[in-house]
Symmetry: C2
Subunit: 348 residues, 2 copies
Amino acid sequence: MSASDSAVASRRFMLGVLAAMPAMPVLLRASAAQAQTDPLASWNDGSAKQAILDFVKTTTDRASPQFVPPEDRIATFDQDGTLWVEHPLYTQAFFALDRVHELASRHPEWESHEPFKAVLANDLPALAHFSERDWAELVFVTHAGMSEGEFREIAEHWIATAKHPRFKRPFTELIYQPMTEVLDYLRANQFETFIVTGGGQDFVRSYSQRVYGIPAQQVVGSSLDTKYEFHDGKAELIRLPKLFFNDNFDGKPIGIDAFIGKRPAAAFGNSTGDQQMLEYAKSGPGARLSMIVLHDDDKREYAYGPARGLPDTKVGTFNEALYDEAKRDGWFVISIKDDWKHVFAFEA
Amino acid sequence: MSASDSAVASRRFMLGVLAAMPAMPVLLRASAAQAQTDPLASWNDGSAKQAILDFVKTTTDRASPQFVPPEDRIATFDQDGTLWVEHPLYTQAFFALDRVHELASRHPEWESHEPFKAVLANDLPALAHFSERDWAELVFVTHAGMSEGEFREIAEHWIATAKHPRFKRPFTELIYQPMTEVLDYLRANQFETFIVTGGGQDFVRSYSQRVYGIPAQQVVGSSLDTKYEFHDGKAELIRLPKLFFNDNFDGKPIGIDAFIGKRPAAAFGNSTGDQQMLEYAKSGPGARLSMIVLHDDDKREYAYGPARGLPDTKVGTFNEALYDEAKRDGWFVISIKDDWKHVFAFEA
């Protein structure tokens, strides 16, 4: 791994993602009505859409040799860049930066101490070159030192109020409508849909039920150590500034095995951080579906990669090697430009 | 913690549990028919049975101020001594000892090396004094060094064939019928039932669906590190002789928070290893149920504790301090002698 890969890796693990979307239930209801005729109404016809339909058919038909019993129907989804927008920064990075500003009055020493100094000065070029250690320091001061309940409240409040700099909407409105349809379609066919994110597990859990219909117990992510405390008849878990689990790269199959204990029949990702999860899902016995989202639409979303000549932005790296592995091993590439009729619910 | 507590603790974490029961589906069907009139037919009337009925009523009635939405209905169960017999040794200890015998021909050095020498000589008094390090060594050589899939096959084969020394039945027939009814009753009321065991997570997962109706993804336990390998298009996780997570004592609420992300509304245990889980469940807001099984029936099962003058066998320690905490904090004590009409399905 190069130094820059490693910086990307650490940013990706450190910075999970998530948000809140009050307008969404109405839009989802509209798409549920369409779903009677086409469960994947926001997808253009093509090999990607067909692969999803074929996979569900063959795994749920009792007459199929590839039938999978309901309790083993496990599908895993990366979040950042797979279920929602990850540009120009992971949503959880915006959260961490906002938290630094909020906590700054209690930490006068930050004004002369990096990486806090650059954050407080909104020095974006400096931020783009933060090291793994810088991001770890930012995450530890903003994500630890409180109880799990307190952290959840802080995250819930932030996601309900913060907005994306380009789209000027809550981050939770920037989930991909076609992927919402895949989640709904799989669940309607008795699949359990898990988020398996390099981002912070508890950050994602604070909105996953509301935004994706995925309960906390189906979110696997990177996490901090906690400490158990019991005083005056009250039990709490206190978050510590120490990494418990890094759910990225080979950490994804390792985390899936530890938390779920079954090899997923279907997996969805968009970057090198998802490579091992996609390999793990694809190489089991029976029907298998590994899919990878290619961000090639800078009009409706973003274009980066750097597969197929797209720019290398260091966020959500989908490179030529990954593209070649996808082709060789029978993963399906989802082109946002070609495969998605709508990207966001608010477009529809 | 005293040295002997620590030895018990380590045995408990090291040695999970589990087994296979082909005769059970028929028996379960019989009890399901009874359940139309009484979902807890193997329970005698009393405060323990009533507490379970009241808890389910108040958390599932939409008109109740203590109503809990289905996705938050989480109930956690210790396994050894709570769902099945843990005497004279944890079932997983029998598994480890059998594995040592099986592997001995490949390890001639074991004949002169403790703790293997004592195991191979069936030296039970020596075994009773094994240290934490001894048990760790036994677990690492018998549970690591193979893929997850290979380990699961080994565990499945053992549990399908091994028998309990006193009852002369498969270990999986030694699950407590009254607790099976509690699992069924909670699930019928849309609770997710999790096993949270100090024992080995993957050992328990190898039979949890068949024996308890609990899928692998709802088993949290102690576990080993794994390593991801990808060769010739095949991905595997290899089990390493190194502890990943110790799911016992404060590890139980820590594991619940990490794996499930929600505070259980109900928790069931039987020993000091469950104390923190029971505190954690009981001290949340709304309706709460913490229950602890007292083994006071040496005719039908075993009597040990050493609460209320029962012998201290060092397995499944339920001591006076725990009894006092139960009374003080409103946990319910389940007396096997008084509260259970039948202990095992084969008695009914």
